[in-house]
Amino acid sequence: MVKKLIILSMMLWGTALLSVSSAKEYMIVGARPDKLYVIDIKARKVEKTFTIPDSTAPQNIVISPDGKIAYVGTNHLRSIVGIDLESGDVVFRADLDYKDDERTWNYGFDISPDGSEIYSYDIPTKIYLDRFESREPRLSVFKTNGGLEAKPVREFPLPRRIHLLMVAKSGALYAMGWDFYKVDVQTGKYEVAYPLRNWTQKNLSQPDALAFWPSWDNNGIFSTPIFYARTDMAEDNMERFRTGLLTLDLKTEKFDLIDFQSAPEVLFSSVIHPDRKTAYAVYNTLLKIDLEKPHTAKRIDLNHTYYQTDISADGTEVYVGGTTCDVAIYDSTDLKHIGEVKLPNCPDMGATVIRMIHK
């Protein structure tokens, strides 16, 4: 049975791999205050550097399905700017505090499978002359052809404290927050697709996971480290504190929770190997996680903190980035350091994300 499943998943992803094998792979990253880089990752070379106008701290990046445009969340979570990855031209801009006297924080956005709409999760505050008033968060839907002063075409209320949006192959929008919600982008109706704060896992405490990092480009599956405690274990038992990977397959829309170690370390993000047998997780350490056991098969110390990990489409190289100005490259089998890319003039990547594209 297990064998069958693996073969099946190889077949599924085999086709995906085939379809990209002819294209060249690039990594897209941003850096403070206003840079966007296109990196020829196998050549370890920054191929293009773009300047984002009126930008302070790029953070989230979403690539159009045709790989031509990068939508960058910037301006301290207040704007989404679309940059043409060939010319560097600004082709789209939405300033999210589009209502009068408002200040808005963006906590995630993603794009529809056909590339026509952007879904943005925004937390507004109304600014009066002598006081602020925190308002309810909303989902704002923008048309990607909305131009440089794009205004939303639809707007719906959403729960507070969402931090990551992702669109499944079917077009369904998933939002991770207190719980994992599934949102109908036409009606704004949402339901709990996977309970977290309200989860019902036996003998497990309320979990903690704050994911900002999209690492599903080369594997079709969202994953994040998630932390919880075994309430059936003694308070002083260190095994009580657990680390798992929470995953959402963006094709089948199935969730999974894989418990793989007790919790001796901070981990910010994870990525699943395209073969789905292995995963990697990062912060001060880089972990190789055997998903079949499941357990941590290898752990190495990094020379500094990295926020995000990602993987090449062929599954041979693991990348870590964010925090400073380098992307470090490791062999996915033995975690040997096999290369790096330093951004020119060493800008601060901060919490900018890594995206992988093929063209």
């Binding site: 301290h76 200040r103 924080w105 602020f132 008033e133 925190s134 507070r160 404290r161 903690d208 704050l210």
Partner: protein, 539 residues
Amino acid sequence: MKFIAPILSILLLTAGLSACSEAPKKSNVSEAEKVAGRTLVSDNCSGCHMEAEDGTFSRISFIRKTPEGWDMNIARMMIFHGLEIEPQDRRALVKYLADTQGLAPSETAAHRDILERKHNVIEQGVDPDLAAMCARCHTYARVALQRRDKAEWQNLVHMHLGQWASIEYQMLARERDWRADALGPVAEKLGKLYPLKTTQWTDWQKAEWKDMSGSWYMVGHVPGIGDMGGSMTVKAAGEGKYQTAFNMIFTDDITGAEGINLTGMGKSIVHTGYEWRGTATLNDVKYRQIWAASPDGNRMTGRFFKKDHPEDGMTITAWRNIPENNGIMSIVPAALKAGKATEIVISGLNLSGDISIPGAEVTVKQASDSRIVISALALAGATGPAKITVGNDSAPLAIYLQVDYLKVTPEYGISRVGGGGGPIPKVAAQFEAVGYTFGPDGKQGTDDDVNLGRLPVIWQVDNYSPAAAAMQDAKYAGHITENGTFIPAVAGPNPERKYGTNNAGDLKVIASYHNGTRTLTAEAHLIATVQRWNNPPIM
């Protein structure tokens, strides 16, 4: 409904009038000062804070704060909202607002450590829920040093939500509905705990706020250095301002030897009738005072610290030199080893009469009405709690045979990396080792244990935990001097360290006291951490 409001306001008005007529004495804030203050609010603030028909300004008139609280508030108006205000107007506004909308002495009493800028305070007794909600970015004192009703606490929560994007996402916030909790039960609780109107404040406004001029005697202790006794002369300069002159002598609290002499001049202002804020230059170093006067205006307590190093300072007790203030303020050292002649310094005010220690021979070496130096020799049979008597006053003193155990204070210290070309200086941590006897019950850690004062010890640091050992914190985080001062290492990443991390560390500080063949040791915990990038007046 329409009729009720006027009737209500008439009622309120007459209530106000009758309160006034009961107290015909001169008001603490003069009419002229009130008019000038209102003009400043009107000129600087009313563009955004509307003046209502009853003369109140929106938001401003419904909150009470400490002088530091008001100053930080005006700073925020400037930084976030673009207020432009002249420095002298800002100072005058702080004075006006602190005098007319301040906190009574009893309302600030529990949180003075933070106001006084002690740097390693662990706040005690905070409701755990309020601590998790409101004291993870700043101290709880910042909250508890304000008075306002629920709606204004809610406004403050809205400001936080609009100002800090990550407030709902951080640890200790994200597992709950932070916004709903803050706007609901927390605002409710704060409105009850710290409401705008209190009898403490009305009573304090009615009390007579005293002029502070005169001559004062101060005692204080500088950890690792010794004890100070000295005078402060205060001259009124009008509008609650004063000129000050200082003359202090230090005594080494281990050897009893006379140490340095610190002298200089300064300026002070008194807010809210008791909040004494001073600056002084002593032996060419700039100092600050954050003190509070007692309600009768005859005593003050607070900290005297270096302006550039608030962690480096002393806690002071000051008495006004008036006949009612007479007696012993401190004795250094307050312990006498049997069979060993020891020099003891007695500080106080209007000291007169015979000096004696039952069970010991006393020789007076030097005597004035504020400072007496004696040599005392106790016989072995006299061990135990004793007292030193000067005229009609006395103070406790311990006579002991041997030190039974040691304690390191503070038990928990904080240092901060700094320097290294960066703008922020290092923040050192000072430790002291204090000796104790077990007391009559022969047991350690009971109420009858006797504090023998500071002892000469050998200092060392070591890794606090296995994790610290793995990171070699003790090697990188800094070093401790002979005097118990932990000097942190330089700021910035250290390429020699694992993960290229900075020179932070989790350490234990170990004191060893050698006494003949016995060695006593004690430990404290030291967090050697990173710089604070902003040092607001109320942490």
